[in-house]
Symmetry: C2
Subunit: 347 residues, 2 copies
């Protein structure tokens, strides 16, 4: 059985392809009667427009792309991506748009292998726009996509550096303030921030904001860099705390981690060096997840609506693709979920 096309519909109805096309696309140029006959037959025969033919005609793929530059071995343990994908998908599904996903492992030589994917996608006409994660300072993708003229949105980014682009902006400073103030209120006077990858733009913003808010409250803050993995969070914690005398002025009474994995790794590290949570040290995570809820003790965390971040980002991108000028969208601030790991500083 040959595939049903507008040509076959036109033949069976004894009218031209153009009329069928107009009818199917809800455009003027056909009588109501003809339109209904066309729609009825199309429904009966289960006609679908060929995506490739349609894309070829008006250079739109109805598809947006995402390239994740992450180690495949670790990407599974980060709930963030799957959650944001689910939010993105909710919007795309409603609007009959599609998602093309590529996960590429970062090169040992730190070559940006994702850039080649964008070039290719543009050349092949595969996607109408892309969503960018993990913005770095002076992100090379912005330059490239700007040159290529491909619309993009920086998810949880900070700026919109080019035409046909925007960001779903997360106010890292406000979130930092929430946590630092919560610690200050509970008597903490020396805190440490264990950051994620310091090459990421948002991570720099976070580190700076933590220090700044601490200073403005008259408490001291140190920053140490880690890499978002539980294993390194554990190591960084041990390196930071091992050998410190709890009575000394250098002993931080609160550890703030850049994500949930590092926080949970940190708990393991603290246990190894014999520091009890929250009696001797409080622990807070920037990202909330099921791991924080079910760790022992449960970890206080900034809860943000990741699904909503995905939804807003997708809507923003689709708008830009349709030619609308759009400003950055501000995402709501995180809410600190109080859990056992956050306690009062012992004096």
């Amino acid at each position: 059985m040959p595939n049903v096309t507008i040509t076959s519909l036109a033949q069976q109805l004894g009218i031209s392809k153009a009329s069928v096309s107009y009818a199917l696309n809800g455009r003027s140029g056909v009588s109501d009667e003809t339109r209904e006959r066309v729609l009825a037959l199309a429904a009966e025969l289960g006609w679908y427009p060929s995506s490739s033919a349609r894309a070829l005609s008006h250079s739109r793929s109805e598809t947006i792309g995402i390239v994740l530059l992450r180690d495949p071995a670790h990407v599974g343990s980060e709930p963030f991506y799957m959650s944001v994908l689910a939010g993105i998908e909710a919007v795309l599904g409603e609007r009959d748009q599609n998602l093309m996903l590529r996960i590429v492992a970062p090169d040992a030589a730190a070559e940006r292998r994702d850039l080649a994917v964008y070039r290719r996608w543009v050349g092949e006409g595969r996607v109408d726009g892309v969503l960018l994660f993990d913005e770095t300072s002076n992100d090379p993708r912005c330059q490239l996509l700007g040159d290529l003229g491909l619309p993009f949105v920086l998810v949880g980014g900070t700026r919109a550096p080019a035409a046909k682009s925007a960001a779903t902006a997360v106010d890292q400073s406000a979130d930092a303030a929430t946590v630092v103030e919560a610690l200050h209120e509970r008597g903490h006077r020396r805190i440490a921030y264990i950051s994620g990858l310091p090459t990421l733009g948002h991570e720099r913003a976070r580190s700076a904001a933590v220090v700044e808010h601490a200073e403005s409250l008259g408490i001291s803050a140190v920053v140490t860099a880690s890499d978002y993995t539980a294993a390194d969070g554990e190591m960084a914690t041990i390196a930071l705390m091992a050998g410190l005398d709890p009575a000394s002025k250098d002993f931080p009474t609160a550890l703030f981690y850049g994500n949930d994995l590092m926080a949970v790794g940190g708990l393991a590290g603290l246990k190894k060096v014999g520091i009890s949570v929250p009696e001797q040290v409080s622990v807070v995570s920037w990202d909330d997840s099921i791991m924080c809820e079910f760790s022992s003790p449960p970890v206080a965390a900034l809860n943000r609506d990741i699904g909503e971040l995905g939804r807003q980002s997708a809507m923003l991108l689709l708008d830009i693709i349709q030619g609308h000028q759009r400003e950055n969208v501000s995402m709501p601030a995180g809410v600190l979920r109080l859990r056992t790991s956050l306690g009062v500083a012992r004096t």
Copy 2:
């Protein structure tokens, strides 16, 4: 600047489109000299084949599809999907194939909304084949895809019910035996299996296998159904254990959970009802993940190579799409990672 196409290349070189096409596709019909001139110019101008034009010509989209029928709110907490996606992507990336992803929330009315997506994808010619997750008994997708003639692979499935399909088969029985024997060796004589969604084919196979192996070793096993979430794992555990006298014959000394989330939820439940792990009860998880490593106590788990499952599934599907007849592929058995939660039964 107009896009570079084979027509523009042909014009600049003063030859026909056909020659350009043959040269670019490495087919005979052009002299080596012409071929080199074409390739050189194409590289210089950054030519890429239009994916839509190519798809329109030979009805291949170079894209495989995945529809995840999962609650968006929960999909983020399951490391499984992201891990398997990473494995799939590794294969697709190497072979210049693309992945189209759709996440659809299960309907309250339990209508299979994913079926409409497959119909649409086939009608539009968007994908050349699909990967199926979470096979159910008498899975309606197999019937539909068989009728539509779309190649598919059941990831971690059991059978290959139609032409143009196969499964990456996981031997649930062997994995069940590994755990049941490990428990038996440590003196456990009464165990409970807290299963995931019992509608899933592999979950039925697991429950049956646990009971069967227990019986063959002369120990008793009960099965209780949960739904893969930590919250329900906790509730199911409390329902199972609350009020049971540790000295009674009905008290299971080992709890085996269908995934890592339920196991961690189970730890929380056991703590609430005052049962200590592993002193009074041992805990084992069917899936391993970072949650098992960093929970308190760490949970013994069957470690399987999820990335490899994704890789094998993708390779199998690509082969079938290319018209090869393929048998099911057997995945390696899981390896039990011994951790603190698994101890010797107290007699």
